[in-house]
């Protein structure tokens, strides 16, 4: 990750922050979410707010936008202490936020989305549509977006929705713009466009708070940084004065280079062969093999067709043209049930939404994909279900009062364990993990990586779809890079480097 050479020089003398948090404390029942934190946002500068999950970043955003009120400390706008009792107060003070998933209205027009709540009125007090559309067009042009203001938001792509959100931020003449993981859903090209836009906003003298997990972005775009850890302020300064590892050290409070487990699995015979996979709109010419004990990484930009390919392989979507061989025998996989039956399981990206059934007890969650084994002619055998569930929850070291408790009563981490136990209980041959560490903190990531290595060591064949280069490099025996629905490269050994991955993924 290259440091941006063109980091702006800080203006002569220390400028005053437009917006500052001073010793802000926020307590939730029994929990101190923020403890005397400070943060300053300066005109024409981008401040990156950095911290692990649970460091208190989102609480700060909610305090800055008037959704939460702090229990102690002061919010200062241009040096004056203010209170943001409501979201409207914060908006009136010129603070606006662009969220990870934009908070916009699909069924309204672009112009209405931009001006919702402060639409221009005519002399009868009714919305002045022509002025609104004209102004919307001006603002959109200002952010370099070719969007027709009268179109429904629903018809726009995710990147254009972001532009509308930004246009909305500009329409209320915001002086402070908060961007909460704005690149999470964007493609490489769209991210570049976002960077340009941020540069434009900077040039207009706006103060920007940029929240991101990605260091390359932070070093590309930020002028300053502030680091939180466990709800406490750890440090701040100019980004040009620090390195990536300095920031990581501050975030986790210890010296961690991302360490990946040593892999010592025996790579065995071929277990999965995919040939000639074709899909009318999503991917083409896909062929690869997978061996026992191997971790095969799938790298690519968002939208390269990796998840679509895996879902087709697992029988979730329409089966593709092509041949799937498992253990040398051709298998037809038309549904997830076929895939599971043939020893292929898929752990989706959103494990909360797509994995856990919170109203069912733990043991029923674990046995759900294995019911054919724990039942006889459609009748359940509860004793066998408990046995299976006990065996696999124990292997994952799950601590729960009883396997009969509802899954929803467990903490997120424990629910995660149950979801993984569920898949292992099917005794799969091939396990597909889609973004296995997306959005989890560094500590939990290491645990997931170790577990993955262990599965491979036990002879399981693992497919890992990941967008994180360190993870791909650290975990995979072999990597397939996809670009625009096709396999761009298959890399292993010395060919594997961040540069080659990015080059093939971007088609440079």
């Amino acid at each position: 990750m290259a440091r941006n050479a063109a980091a702006p020089v800080s203006p002569a003398g220390a400028p005053e922050p437009i917006l500052a948090l001073d010793a802000i404390t926020k307590t939730f029942p029994g929990v101190k979410a923020l403890s005397e934190v400070r943060l300053g946002l300066y005109p024409g500068q981008v401040t990156a707010l950095i911290g692990e999950n649970g460091a208190g970043k989102s609480t700060v955003v909610k305090i800055l936008t008037g959704i939460y009120q702090p229990d102690g400390g002061a919010i200062r706008v241009n040096g004056q202490a203010v209170t943001f009792a409501t979201a409207q107060d914060a908006a009136d003070a010129g603070v606006t936020a662009i969220h990870q998933e934009t908070v916009l209205f699909d069924e309204l027009s672009v112009a209405e989305n931009i001006f919702l709540g402060h639409a221009p009125r005519n002399r009868f007090g009714l919305i002045d549509w022509s002025t609104m559309e004209r102004k919307a067009r001006e603002i959109l042009r200002g952010v370099g977006a070719e969007i027709e203001p009268s179109h429904k938001l629903r018809d726009l792509g995710i990147a254009n929705k972001h532009l509308v959100a930004i246009a909305r931020a500009l329409s209320i003449d915001a002086s402070v713009v908060i961007m909460d993981e704005p690149t999470a859903a964007l493609s490489h090209k769209e991210i570049q466009e976002l960077y340009e836009l941020v540069d434009k906003l900077k040039a207009q003298g706006k103060a920007i708070l940029f929240i991101s997990h990605k260091f390359d972005e932070i070093f590309r775009i930020a002028d300053r940084f502030t680091v939180f850890r466990d709800g406490q302020f750890v440090g701040d300064g100019h980004i040009s004065d620090v390195t990536e590892s300095d920031l990581v050290k501050m975030m986790v409070g210890r010296d961690v280079s991302q360490i990946f487990p040593t892999r010592n699995s025996q790579i065995g015979e071929e277990i999965l062969q995919v040939a000639g996979y074709d899909h009318p709109t999503e991917f083409a010419d896909i062929g690869f093999t997978l061996r026992r004990g191997e971790i095969l990484g799938f790298y690519g930009l968002v939208g390269a067709g990796r998840s679509e390919l895996m879902q087709a392989l697992f029988g979730i979507t329409t089966p593709p043209k092509g041949v799937t061989k498992i253990d040398g025998t051709v298998r037809v996989i038309r549904s997830p049930a076929d895939a599971i039956h043939n020893g292929v399981v898929y752990v989706p990206e959103d494990r909360g939404k797509q994995g856990a059934i919170t109203a069912l007890p733990i043991f029923q969650n674990v046995t759900l994909p294995s019911l054919s084994k724990t039942s006889h002619r459609g009748f359940l055998r509860l004793a066998e279900e408990f046995k299976l569930a006990r065996e696999y929850t124990r292997r994952l070291d799950l601590r729960a009062a009883s396997l009969d408790t509802e899954l929803g009563t467990l903490s997120g981490g424990n629910q995660q364990k149950v979801v993984i136990a569920k898949w292992l209980a099917t005794q799969p041959k091939v396990i597909i993990l889609d973004e296995p560490t997306k959005g989890i903190d560094i500590g939990s990531k290491a645990a997931v990586h170790e577990f993955m290595a262990e599965l491979a060591a036990q002879g399981l064949a693992v497919i890992m779809v990941s967008s994180e280069i360190p993870e791909i490099l650290g975990m995979s025996d072999r990597v397939i890079v996809m670009r625009e629905g096709r396999i761009a490269a298959e890399l292993a050994g010395d060919d594997l480097s961040p540069e080659t991955l990015v080059r093939h993924a971007a088609g440079i």
Partner: protein, 327 residues
Amino acid sequence: MLKRLLASREVILLGAIGVLLALIATRFPGFVTPANLAGVFNDTSPLILLAVGQMIVILTKCIDLSVAANLALTGMVVSMINVAAPGLPIVVILLVAVGLGTALGMINGLLVWKLAIPPIVVTLGTMTIFRGMIFLLSDGKWVNSHEMSDAFKAFPRAQVLGLPMLSWIAIAAVILFTLVMTRTTLGRAFYAVGGNPHAATYTGLNVGKTQFWAFAISGALAGLTGYLWVSRYAVSYVDIAGGFELDVVAACVIGGISIAGGIGTVGGALLGALFLGVIKNALPVVNISPFWQLAISGSAIIIAVAFNARANREKGRIILKSAEHTA
């Protein structure tokens, strides 16, 4: 374990029914005699049968508004068969009723499964279509008591071990479907599909097909109830059980079945139906006007939903490590 049992929705509802009966007993002791309670149960049996089917449908995140129309259509068909062939044994009538009801339920299920039309729209449509079909079949004429054979009318009233057949059928359905829901893979699939359809898909369940079977069961029970209804009341016409589908949904909601799917038991549906049954039967006895009956049933629904919403409210996410063990 005991604490959990005492806090369960079913036990609370049972307690509420007990309190209700005690209150009625202070005004009218005769109401709580075993004979009268058995009468109330028998009266509520059709509601119980339909509520059990509806419960399964609601469990899978669907709703079946066509149950009462299915009941009426099946009831009319079996009445007309009885008129045309009075000698046909009751077993055949029962098979026709269950078979036709199932087929009608399967139409709902297929539309939901294959065409992915929202269940409320599908069953609103079929509800109207079924009623229309009764009119076409009967030309709007009634099938009256004197046209039905004695055997046809006697079946639901036949006394077995002190209870009428109608009551026994309701009891049998409750037992059968308790077993289906707790002891079979199909029952487990209903819970999984309603609890989290995405997760169910990834575990190899076919969500649409599971919903199809829920509609088939609901239809089968509606068809069975159709025969029992027309034979018990000894009359069949276009509008029988008009609006009854709302009572059925109400019984489910009162019985703690989550409209969002995935939560509910056969026992809950039974108790919800009994609660409504007790109110309907008791209020006239203690001289409360029928308008108040509606208001009280309505209030019971809202209280039950509010209560369940409270119980199911998400506790929020535990984010801080330090809070993990205290929560």
